[in-house]
């Protein structure tokens, strides 16, 4: 690549401990601007905790997190609100307000964070709904639409304020394979058309390989490997191979050894 790629997020030596338990253990990672970065790993690998740090919900025990050149670690709530304007978040369960119409859900961040008139907000809502393929659904209530459509409404809401970065927490969770692939296509479209940086946390392998420009594999709170889809697919790391092939036996122990069991039992 001729141009030097700018990193919109840089995580430096991030450590997070909950009591004695180290959940993130010296994470270093970069998220290139305008690209789709997928953070993946098995349950309990630390990927959700990592995401919560990136959006400022957790403070690390040690380390720094730079978002668009600003270190968000130790920021005041007011400072953090300024940074939060730069990103949108698609929650796992869509998290729409059931008492509000689709249009009002998308309009919510515009009403909360800007002084725009309602006429202008209504036009923006229409444009955002078109971007997610839901033109004409403004007056529908969330209970009147499918799970996949709810996700798309949530995505329209996430991009309402024209964020630089969108975080996706398990975007395909609870969706059938066809709907999940439609959401993947939408993530690709938004990235390519709007040049939005996407950070996707998932353990869905098909989805990860479909969308990722860069993959980051976490295991036991550490970065195991960073690479393109091809590099991860061809990784010689036995943990990664076991994970992407979904094999029950391998380097990742399904259960603790009897030795660890006895040690844990007798020493507790």
């Amino acid at each position: 690549m001729a141009d030097k790629q700018k990193n919109i997020i840089e995580v430096k030596n991030l450590i997070k401990r909950f009591g004695d338990r180290t959940v993130l253990d010296g994470i270093n990672l970069n998220v290139p601007e305008g690209k789709i970065t997928v953070i993946m790993g098995g349950s309990g690998c630390g990927k959700s905790t990592m995401l919560r740090h990136l959006i400022g919900l957790h403070q690390p025990t040690e380390g720094d997190i730079y978002v668009d050149n600003e270190n968000i670690v130790g920021m005041s709530e007011k400072q953090m609100n300024g940074v939060k304007r730069k990103f949108g978040m698609l929650f796992q369960g869509a998290a729409l307000f059931n008492s509000m119409s689709v249009g009002d859900n998308v309009a919510l961040p515009l009403r909360e964070h800007t002084d725009l008139s309602d006429e202008i907000i209504q036009i923006i809502v229409k444009v955002k709904l078109e971007l997610v393929g839901l033109t004409g659904f403004e007056d529908f209530m969330p209970y009147q639409i499918s799970g996949g459509m709810k996700k798309r409404v949530a995505l329209a809401r996430a991009i309402a304020l024209d964020p630089k970065i969108v975080f996706y927490d398990e975007p395909g969770a609870g969706l059938d394979p066809i709907t999940a692939s439609m959401i993947d296509q939408l993530i690709l479209d938004l990235s390519q058309k709007l040049k939005i940086t996407s950070v996707v946390v998932t353990h869905e392998m098909k989805s990860a390989f479909r969308i990722a420009d860069q993959m980051i594999v976490l295991h036991k709170g550490k970065v195991l490997q960073v690479g393109t889809s091809e590099e991860i697919k061809n990784s010689s790391n036995s943990y990664i191979q076991q994970f992407i092939n979904g094999e029950p036996e391998g380097a990742i122990p399904l259960k603790q050894t009897s030795e660890a069991y006895l040690k844990g039992l007798l020493e507790s």
């Binding site: 800007t114 008139s117 202008i120 971007l131 309402a160 024209d162 058309k193 709007l194």
Partner: protein, 112 residues
């Protein structure tokens, strides 16, 4: 953002300089709305010095176009930088607006 307004024959020309975003678009809306709402008025907006436009800027122009059409007027945008034009294309609005390469072309379109 700087907004300059001038009259060219019977056309109101707005020259914008800066970024058109959530902070600056309400001011532009106020200035443009007054002109496009008048019957048969011709309005040209020159975007030569606009480097960035967000959804609120786009929506401001959509509303201006709606008002101009209702008032049987003309509303033309001129000299869009590629990054600005792509915002219209993404929202599939590039075919809805009259987009002119130069201010002179925009004025010709307004008079047509």
């Amino acid at each position: 953002m700087k907004i300059q307004q001038k009259q060219k024959d019977d056309i109101q020309v707005f020259e914008l300089d800066g970024e058109l975003d959530f902070h600056t678009s309400p001011d532009l809306r106020e200035k443009i709305s007054a002109e496009v709402s008048k019957q048969n008025h011709k309005v040209v907006v020159n975007l030569k010095n606009v480097s960035y436009i967000d959804s609120s800027g786009l929506a401001t122009f959509v509303e201006a176009l709606q008002k101009a059409k209702r008032a049987s007027g003309k509303f033309i945008l001129a000299e869009l930088a590629p990054a600005v034009k792509s915002v219209f294309e993404i929202a599939k609005l590039d075919k809805v607006f009259s987009l002119a390469g130069t201010e002179e072309d925009a004025c010709r379109l307004a008079k047509a």
